[in-house]
């Protein structure tokens, strides 16, 4: 494919020298900038307490202390924090898949009375900056209207607000809209009810968009900070982001670094496995009108 600089220009003698210099430079700089900190993360956790805060810092740990990782695991209760994070992330994913898919399907294919008004009101929430609603949302979770339930310290405080995601509704509805009406009519002729049509026609065709929505759902919970900090004050129920920060007071630097390495490992592995889907989902999901 033709880009800014043509292949013929690059294949000239001078062009080739410049190209390879730039390439090597870019690879080296990017590796330093983006992998360097990760190298520091892994090796920092292998240093002794004294070596981790030594000036100047050492490039290689002079002695390998693998027990720092063990200490981080037990002292910062990493097992608990990891479990909580996964529990919140996959619970949120399940609820979003059930309720947002059902809602988008109803708005796209069943088209009820007031459907457009509901869709408009949902999409309008995209215009509200999330930080503005933090306080009233917190007060709502503290005392749910009408039923007067307090959701603080329950997983529902994290799960339910994630369902109110207009972006999911928008992506899913747009995808469902592209499923031909004739297919739906044919299913109805064969006696399939709305649920059956959703299950055996719409869902199998929507795998790509369901993948995008799922990845965003998991990553959003995994990366969230302020909201889980407010609604999960009980240390035994906190996810990684909050737990590490609140338990790290008075813990030595090498143990904290080891804990951070443990916390990053699952997402990095997750990313390397699904990188193609994640990066494709990002570009297709976010901007292409």
């Amino acid at each position: 494919m033709r880009t800014l600089i043509s292949d013929t220009q690059l294949n000239r003698r001078g062009g080739r020298i410049v190209y390879w210099t730039v390439l090597v430079l870019v690879v080296v700089v990017f590796t330093l900038v983006f992998l360097g900190p990760l190298y520091w993360l892994v090796t920092g956790g292998l240093k002794s307490t004294r070596e981790a805060v030594q000036s100047p810092p050492t490039l290689f740990p002079s002695e390998i202390h693998t027990d720092t990782y063990r200490e981080a695991w037990s002292q910062l209760r990493m097992g608990r924090l990891l479990f909580n994070t996964l529990y919140y992330a996959f619970g949120a994913l399940a609820l979003q898949l059930v309720f947002d898919v059902a809602a988008a399907y109803a708005l796209s294919k069943l088209r009820p009375v007031l459907g457009n008004l509901i869709l408009g009101m949902m999409l309008a929430t995209l215009m509200i900056p999330a930080a503005v609603l933090i306080v009233p949302q917190y007060l709502t979770v503290l005392d749910l209207p009408l039923v007067h339930l307090n959701l603080i310290n329950t997983p529902w405080a994290i799960w339910l607000p994630t369902v109110a995601n207009a972006f999911n509704i928008f992506l899913l509805k747009r995808f469902f809209d592209s499923i031909p009406e004739e297919l739906m009519a044919a299913a109805a002729m064969d006696g399939a009810g709305p649920l059956r049509a959703l299950w055996s026609i719409v869902l199998p065709m929507s795998r790509p968009i369901l993948g995008v929505v799922s990845i965003f759902a998991v990553v959003n919970v995994w990366k969230d900070f302020l909201w889980p900090m407010l609604v999960q004050p009980d240390p035994a129920k906190q996810p990684l982001n909050i737990g590490i920060n609140s338990l790290s007071l008075g813990v030595s630097q090498n143990v904290i670094i080891a804990a951070l390495a443990i916390a990053s490992a699952p997402t990095i592995v997750f990313f390397l496995i699904f990188q193609r889907n994640i990066m494709a989902g990002l570009t297709s999901g976010s901007l292409k009108g």
Binding site: R2, P57, K223, T283
Partner: protein, 315 residues
């Protein structure tokens, strides 16, 4: 957050006028049933939107004009607004937030674009570089932020050691009022630039190659090709992303909260959202917190409105 467009609803095919009343009643019953089913499918999402989006939005506005003391809530008009603007922290928080946004845009908007242009020209190692740039976006923010805090440490941090080894002047980074915000921006850019880079890269790949060829035949050099082909061809995505980034960076909270504890030296990293947090959760002053949230909403509404309009033209 793409275009907000509501496709016109197709009229349900009503029964032909010459039908007998009985079958008309049957058609009506079927339509009622169909609507009930549809609203049943909508119910879960509707309840969640009502509880966690619509109701809080109304409550946010109402609370801005109320004060609660000893369990009694009274209307106080614009008192909350007056109270927050009389707080010197208000102006400092806005100054800090604008400074953060400006710096974050210079770094977080220009750098990803240049990186994307560069990556798009490379014929090798592209997949590797793409993964590298996006890797920090996937890390839990606490990991990246606390790691940067470790690097920034003035006595044993990596950054000062590198500067020292290169015989460059070292810095107090987060510990000085003049450099704290810049340090926050650098960490935030490292954490977040991957997303923008990949979106630009996708936009660049959509530029038809003939345009470059034509420009080259007209004798346009490298810089003029960037100026007259690359930038006009990606202008829409660039402006959409610019607006998104303004809205997102104005709401900065996590990075300063974790790096400097929120306020930083002499309040140099207090942001508007951190001030909202402080009013609500340190001082239990929900009225002031809501009033400040409302100010934020009004300021950002212009940008989000522009975004919605632009993305509609993108369709």
């Amino acid at each position: 957050m793409a275009a907000i467009s509501v496709s016109a609803r197709r009229k349900p095919a009503g029964p032909p006028p010459d039908l007998a009343p009985a079958s008309r009643r049957a058609a009506l019953a079927q339509r009622v049933r169909r609507n009930l089913t549809a609203h049943g499918f909508l119910l879960g999402a509707l309840l969640c939107f009502a509880c966690f989006s619509w109701y809080p939005m109304v409550r946010e506005i109402v609370m801005s004009f109320q004060r609660t003391r000893r369990g009694r809530t009274t209307w106080v008009g614009l008192d909350n607004l007056r109270h927050i603007t009389e707080d010197p922290a208000f102006w400092q928080a806005w100054r800090n937030t604008l400074l953060f946004t400006l710096l974050a845009l210079v770094l977080g908007f220009a750098v990803p674009f240049l990186v994307a242009v560069l990556l798009n020209e490379l014929r090798h190692a592209k997949a590797y570089l793409r993964v590298l740039v996006y890797l920090p976006v996937m890390m839990p923010p606490v990991a990246s932020v606390l790691l940067f805090k470790y690097f920034y440490d003035p006595s044993y941090g990596l950054f000062n050691s590198v500067l020292h080894a290169l015989h460059l002047p070292t810095s107090a980074w987060l510990n000085s009022a003049s450099t704290a915000m810049v340090s926050v921006v650098i960490a935030a850019t490292w954490m977040n630039m991957g997303g923008a880079t990949l979106i630009y890269l996708a936009a660049l790949q959509g530029i038809p190659g003939e345009l470059y060829e034509a420009a080259e035949l007209d004798g346009a050099g490298l810089l003029r090709r960037i100026w007259h082909v690359t930038i006009p061809q990606t202008r829409l995505i660039l402006s959409l992303l610019l607006l998104l980034q303004i809205v997102a960076t104005m709401q900065v909270f996590v990075e300063p909260f974790l790096l400097t504890g929120g306020n930083g030296p002499q309040g140099s990293t207090t942001t508007v959202v951190y001030l909202i947090y402080q009013y609500a959760f340190n001082f239990n002053n929900y009225g002031s917190a809501s009033a400040l949230g409302l100010v934020m909403l009004v300021v950002l509404a212009g940008f989000s409105g522009l975004y919605a309009r632009l993305s509609r033209t993108a369709d």
